[in-house]
Each structure stands twice: as structure tokens, then as C-alpha cells.
Symmetry: C2
């Protein structure tokens, strides 16, 4: 019943499974627009501007930071990454829901810059499971894993600032819950325009 799209911010500690859940959600709901990031890093082979990333020059990126044109941004090593506000807003205005899959720090910035978003915190089933997942990636040393887990504990403290928390015990369960959250958010009374629904017409009988 609502006309404007929702900005769904999917965040949570690293290892919670944000990427997998987001991908599965988009497969089931292709009408949702994935928020494309801007970056100053070089395109890799096969990456397409406007699909994988908006590849942006450093000076342009910095100009957009200055003009508050990012919902969030970060510098990772030598490269900037950010969520262009214009792209998100344009989609929302066209009635399209946008999903932004992002780390906890990024989500914090979006809360400040776009508090009307729907903030979903994805929880791994337990720290044990989280450590298993990080282990399985096999890309990190034991020390890095310990740091990641310690920071995950800290990040879980952030959950209270979100609207929803979804347990990622199974990807399909998490996807079902996020779909339900989207439906429910669209039923919130502040998102419904009764005038458009025709209730202000004259009484149909005399």
C-alpha cells in the first residue's frame, strides 16, 4: 500500500553470513535493487561499471564526501568505498526497495544519514558457529580469527540500535524472516496513504 520503496540495511558481524543471505534474498525477490557501491579501486577483469561498482576517480569521490553524497563511506587501505545517496534515493522514489549489505560500522553511518531505513542485524547462531565459519574460510590466521571473534562480540552489542535481528541458523529461515519484515514494514501505518486508498471519497449511498 506504500508508494516509496524501503531501504533495507542488512548488517551484522563478519561471518554472520550477510553475503549469502543477501544473495538468496535477491534470487527470490529480484524486484529488490542491490545497492551498488562506489569505489576508487581499479576495476578487476569482468567487473562492470554501474553493475558491480560505480568506479570513481579519487577527486570525484572526495568531492562527494564533502557534499555529503554518501550514505556511508570508508577508506580501506588506499581505496575509498561508499554508498552513493543519489542511486539509493532514486530507486526508493521509484517505489523500488533497495538492500544494502554492509558491515556494522557502515550501518552506523547509514543510521545517522538515513534513519528512516529498516536496519536488520544478522546473527550467527552462536559464537561457536561463527568461529567455525571463519575457520572454514581458511583465509585467516589463528590470530586474525581471534581478533575477528573478539570484534564480533563487540559488534553484537550494536544490535540494540537496529530495528530487527534475524538469526541466520539456516539461510532459508533468515530469508523468510527478512521477507516478512519487508511485508510488515510496508503495513506500518505511517507508510500508508489512506487518501490514495480511496477512503476520502464521498459516501457511496444517499
Amino acid at each position: 500500500m506504500s508508494t516509496q520503496g524501503l531501504l533495507i540495511v542488512l548488517s551484522g558481524p563478519s561471518g554472520a553470513g550477510k553475503g549469502t543471505v543477501c544473495k538468496a534474498l535477491l534470487k527470490e525477490c529480484p524486484q529488490i535493487q542491490y545497492s551498488i557501491s562506489a569505489t576508487t579501486r581499479e576495476p578487476r577483469v569482468g567487473e562492470v561499471h554501474g553493475k558491480n561498482y560505480f568506479f570513481t576517480k579519487v577527486e570525484d569521490f572526495e568531492e562527494k564526501i564533502a557534499s555529503k553524497n554518501f550514505l556511508e563511506w570508508a577508506k580501506v587501505y588506499d581505496n575509498y568505498y561508499g554508498t552513493p545517496r543519489d542511486f539509493v534515493i532514486e530507486n526508493l522514489k521509484n517505489g523500488r526497495d533497495v538492500i544494502l549489505e554492509i558491515d556494522v560500522n557502515g550501518a552506523k553511518q547509514v543510521m545517522e544519514n538515513f534513519p528512516e531505513g529498516t536496519f536488520i542485524f544478522l546473527l550467527p547462531p552462536s559464537l561457536e558457529e561463527l568461529s567455525n565459519r571463519i575457520y572454514k574460510r581458511g583465509t585467516d590466521s589463528k590470530d586474525v580469527i581471534k581478533k575477528r571473534l573478539a570484534s564480533a562480540e563487540g559488534e553484537i552489542e550494536e544490535m540494540k540500535n537496529y530495528n530487527y535481528a534475524v538469526l541466520n541458523d539456516k539461510v532459508e529461515n533468515a530469508v523468510e524472516k527478512i521477507k516478512a519484515i519487508i511485508v510488515a514494514e510496508k503495513c506500518k501505518v505511517n507508510k500508508i496513504d489512506v487518501v490514495k486508498e480511496g477512503f476520502k471519497n464521498d459516501l457511496p449511498i444517499d
Copy 2:
């Protein structure tokens, strides 16, 4: 992930289809407890105490009003009707969701007495459709219908005090939306107990 049940208050103007939607919801979700009303009217043939109603003596009912034992109550002609707080609370504590299907005045009282409920306003697709539905019942005179429609317009103004509004264009659509709202409500961060989810365990690796 939450342990306590939800109190779902389904309300809306007369003719919105509350009864039909509630029945269809309970058929799909038999784990939800229908809130049983107390009444001082005589049982009709086949009505069972504790199933259709809690049949209550006038003096007991009035005592319970005095001791604030109703989430809402009303006197209709010579009979009292009310929602016993104890029955609802007991079910919620046992983790069972309770649905209360009630008119707009009743819902207003529940908002005061149990603001932590989930208040859903059921909207008929339009006033035209609402008048058709009331017509089809065939039980009301034209004057009564006009009064009902006028009061429906007033009742729709109450929508802003609810958490959600659900358009009852088709019963199955309305039921799907209410089911989604229930799922989403249980994902709200204030309803999730992380400690119980095991995140406060020690880090599993050394």
C-alpha cells in the same frame, strides 16, 4: 527467538472483515490462541464456557471491572462483554500468541491497558466495498447502513494510533500480511534475548 507470546489486536471498522480474516488466520495458525471474552449474557444452545465465552455473573463482572481485570470491556444493551486480562497474560507468558478481534472502541482501551500489544487495523478496500458488504449482510436498514458508513469514516481516523494497517482486498492477502507482521514483530531487537541465544559464552578458541 522471543520467548513471550504476542498480543495481536485485530480491529477496524465494522464491515472490514475482521471476523473472516481472524478465522482464516486461526485456521492456518492453530498455535495462536483466540482471546475468549467474558460476558454476562446467558449461554445460547451449544455454547461452551471457556470455549465460546467465559460466562460470568454480573456481580463478578463488575468486581473484575473494579479490580482492572479487563483489558477492555463494554456494556451492550443489558449485557457486559470484556477481555479478561488473566487469560491473555497467562497465554502470553506461556509463549503463546493471542489474537483479539475487537471493535475500534475496544482496541482503544487495550492500547491504554496493554500498549505493548501489536495493533493491526484492518481496512476494507474502499468505502464502496464497505457499503456493499454491509448491504450484503442484509440485516440492516438503509438508515443503519448510512450510520455505519459514517462511523466507519470516523473509525478510519483512528488508524494512526495503530502499529499496522492491512488492506483486506482479499482474505488470503490480509492473512499473509498478518502472518508476516507476527514474524517481523518477533524479530524486533527489543524482543530478542541475546544471552539466551548463547552469545555470552566464552570464545570457543584459545
